[in-house]
Amino acid sequence: MKLTGHGGKEVVERILPGGMAGSIISDMPELEVDTQTAHECIDIGYGFLSPLDGFMGSEEVDSVCEEMSLPDGTLWSIPITLEANDDTIRKKGFREGDEILLTYHRKPLAIMKTGEVFQLDADRVAGKIYGTSDPKHPGVRRTVSRKGKSISGKVILVGEPEFQPPFDRFWLTPRNHFSLYRDKGWEHVVAHQTRNVPHTAHEWPMKYCWFAANEDLSVEVPHTGVLVNAVIGEKRNGDYIDEAIILGQAELANAGYFRKDTFAVSFTLWDMRYAGPREAVHHAIMRTNLGCTHHMFGRDHAGVGDFYKPYDAHSLLKQVREQLNIKPVFMMENWFCPICSEVTSSGLCDHAATAQNFSGTLLRSMLIDGVQPTRQVMRPEVFQTVQAASDTYGFGSPFVTDSYLQNRGNVFKLADPRKEVSP
């Protein structure tokens, strides 16, 4: 099955065939990478970031910053770079053409053929990508804090990561996504990007967007699905724990709020940049590589604080619409209307004066207090699932705490093929 991804290019897996890695990597110089780079190696290896086949060099970074495209003209909005500190580069003597073993938690992750070693102008990149150099912006902090030099190069995974429970049930590669749609008979798939446990102001737009994405397909048998694709990446205190997010989302179908033949949950390893409009374009690209035909974009998609206007992401997506192989579905603000007695959209309901807003702060405070929300706010089965995930995985909290950060289980583990080689 040919998988057509972003830019109309084939999604290619870059993984060493089983059993080959042990002898190839045994004498390679090693470079230990951080979590963001490990996630991006896996994303490149499976094709989530197609057509990228490695980490960017200076020409690609410049092109992404200035033109929002790769040098060949393919739309691309976020630089994907690998940084290493100067001492490490000097001590290891990495040079162009060298093959390096990238390790994560000291386990072999990927082989990279070194291209260019260059100095990333992090302040300039931040200004271009985030539209600000304000250190209060978490993406700016992330970009600027990656000290040292950048190393470009094509990567190939040395093996497949082993996803741990409960993530193993939801891990789908791009190829697996395409197979899932074929098995379910989906011709259209609308992606819902999330880092939240679902409340009804998430559920209602997903249902609305199912209709929007179905367009003129027949409805006797569903040919359209909603794909909840959670983003799993670096966590900060106060975020929802990953396990509560993914299990809570899955509970929407388990409890029948969605039919199982129109709904699926999976995740992508990605460390949010909170780059607002540019990140929205990046999400569209990644979901194209998962075979989605439509993508939901709400108010202030991937934004943070007051750095972007509510519909900046929509504007940029409209500007680049011709270069996207996925159709954006735009949404306005949702609220609960006590007069309509339903969750609705500010684009439909004319009772703005009495509208009750779903704020993250309010939902957070309900969950911390352990007070079960009404079913018009959060489905009781979802609430129970989130509470259970708090006990099982969150050290008693549905939110990230110091205990969670220090002691949480691994999302995935890597095997060490060097141990399979006889001395």
């Binding site: 009804t200 106060g238 609960f336 006590p338 969750v343 009750q356 807003n357 779903f358 704020s359 702060t361 309010l362 957070r364 405070s365 309900m366 911390i368 207090d369 352990g370 007070v371 079960q372 929300p373 009404t374 018009q376 706010v377 939110f399 705490t401």
Partner: protein, 105 residues
């Protein structure tokens, strides 16, 4: 946000019944889709003391003007003090801080 600092305490059916018995049901306001909340007043000085005693808590100064992320047992204790004092004013938080300082919570 009108400048008055508040702590939101969510009211489910069980808590609403207790408030009704204490004659406080009028202090529960509809907040979101049938969820009620009682809002307890906090002075600026009390806010600083609470944030120092409970470092995980945050003051949302930009949107709601409320103190968030207080531990559940703290909120439970404040709710019980509201019933005891038949009040949602700063006197409730004053009594709570006194209890914290006396090691009673």
């Amino acid at each position: 946000m009108n400048g008055q600092i508040m702590i939101n305490i969510w009211i489910n059916e069980e808590r609403f019944e207790k408030m009704r018995e204490a004659g406080l049901s009028g202090m529960a306001q509809d907040m979101l889709a049938g969820m009620k909340v009682t809002r307890v007043k906090v002075s600026e000085k009390q806010k600083d003391i609470l944030l120092s005693e409970f470092p995980m808590a945050k003051f949302d100064s930009s949107t709601t003007g409320t103190i968030e992320l207080l531990p559940r047992k703290v909120k439970d204790e404040i709710f019980n003090l509201c019933l005891e004092k038949k009040s949602t004013g700063e006197d409730v938080i004053e009594a709570f801080i006194l209890r914290v300082r006396n090691g009673r919570t």
